[in-house]
């Protein structure tokens, strides 16, 4: 099931974010430097998406 039906715990989400930090950093690069705002935005979007079903249960 895709990401346990988007019902991951905080630890799991943080673990995934940590595991894929290189990918996140790669897509946070603007003009050769990591844009911290963009990085935060990506992490926030990931968190929201991966926990979007949590409240419904």
């Amino acid at each position: 099931m895709l990401f346990k039906n988007f019902n991951l715990s905080n630890d799991e989400v943080l673990g995934i974010i940590d595991a894929y930090k290189n990918l996140i950093n790669k897509y946070s690069i603007v003009n050769g430097n990591i844009d911290e705002d963009l990085k935060q935005e990506i992490i926030l979007t990931l968190y929201k998406t991966l926990t979007k079903n949590r409240r419904k249960n």
Binding site: G15, I16, Y27, S28, V30, D35, L38, I42, L44, T45
Partner: protein, 140 residues
Amino acid sequence: MSNKYNLSSKEKSYLKKIIINARNKYFDKNKFMENEIVTDWHTEDKEGNIMVNIKLDLSYEMKIDEYISFKNFIEIFSDRKLARIYKGLKPKEKYILFLYYYLGYKDKQISKELDIEPNNVRITRNRILKKINQKYLGGN
């Protein structure tokens, strides 16, 4: 870590899709950044030599250097933390703050200098101040 959280290939591609969408959304929200994104970072001449285009980014700091050495300008800050936050801003943001607070330019003059709408200058300036505020109080 990837051993602990083994994601299927479907999940991995989904993750990548989320990241790319978040990035695109961010650029849509911050349209003023479009000029700063390097799309043509190099050109190639007939002999195949690659010339790297150093974009606007550097030139903003060079513009500040025309008035005062950038290093000296940083030393004006009595608060080291604030100076560190200022140093971490994007070149364009640094230039806007420099023009507004150091040279005392009005928004209209800045808009002429950067070739953008005066309203956008105000919005950008407020956004920068908010960002500084958050970083300063956030303890970064």
